[in-house]
Symmetry: C2
Subunit: 187 residues, 2 copies
């Protein structure tokens, strides 16, 4: 199989070089990502995703921070000025799977012509509202991918789907416990 | 303390009515939220957060789906056309804490005049790149809140911060394992 330098829009040469560089210097694999929120009123917040730390240095590639908006629907006391917090987790899982699939397919010479994910999660708000109930977070998440490839077998794509699950940062952060340290400053 | 119907922009009367309604009918607490992604090229995906299911029915309150964009920075083979997948998790945690804080403060008659969250998470991409290493997801997340209130003591705000952590859907989905079922359709 001939592998071009770019596959699925992924720069395969850069992917290989990045991987090789990390083999020689573990610190190149270390990232600290960030997000900020500023409360506006009620359930509405502005969000900001700007710089991150890579290998101990601040990444300067973003000309400006990304602006997000978070809100609840009316049934949860908001005005739909943005998606809500738990929906962002589901969106993150969809994006994570898609990036993993596209990049790993490219590395294996598998061409992707279509890829969509539908993710849904069940949640019960008893605990959020201060009532007795099951856990406050998602009790189950289901993700379904739809992928087309002109040069890979069903078996190859299913194997890739499993590999992507095993190495997905977002899936791992959901299926395995992440320590979350929370502090408050009264200002 | 006199409690107005609206506090911190939260309709307290609606909050009480919602809580009472759920006490009478558990199914009113049940939600299924959704997100979709459509792959564009490389690490770039379009995202869509539209309707959700509440108590067995499709919510119709959103005139249109929210459009999101996900991408990676150049160091992770993208072009910064949007925040990446793991950054959305951090943004979700910030929004979740803020909504929980504003709503529960309102229920307690605590007025909030300023609230910001800074969230950061450490992640190592060895496993994502197919190399041996620690878990692919976040190894640690740190959240720091900054809150001002003209009528609450530091102790009351710290107690509220703990309560919000204990009942936060996003925090719970990170600190405790969520089952994620992933399927692939070859199309």
């Amino acid at each position: 199989m001939t592998q071009t330098m770019t596959a699925n829009g992924i720069d395969v040469q850069a992917l290989i070089e990045t991987t090789e560089a990390i083999k020689g210097d573990d610190s190149l694999a270390e990232f600290t990502f960030r997000a900020r929120s500023t409360w506006e009123e009620g359930t509405y917040n502005g969000g900001e995703i700007g710089t991150f730390t890579h290998a101990g240095s601040e990444d300067q590639s973003r000309a400006a921070a990304f602006a997000l908006h978070g809100d609840e629907p009316p049934v949860l006391l908001g005005a739909n000025r943005g998606p809500n917090a738990v929906e962002l987790l589901l969106q993150g899982l969809a994006f994570c799977y898609a990036v993993g699939f596209a990049a790993n397919a490219a590395a294996k010479g598998i061409e992707i012509t279509r890829m969509e994910y539908e993710v849904e999660g069940d949640l019960d708000v008893h605990r959020f509202l201060g009532l007795d109930g099951q856990r406050p977070g998602f009790t189950a998440i289901r993700a379904r991918g739809y992928v087309s490839s002109p040069n890979a077998s069903r078996e190859q794509l299913e194997e890739l789907c499993q590999y992507v699950q095993d190495t997905s940062p977002v899936r791992d952060s959901l299926v395995n416990p992440v320590p979350v340290d929370t502090t408050l400053e009264v200002v």
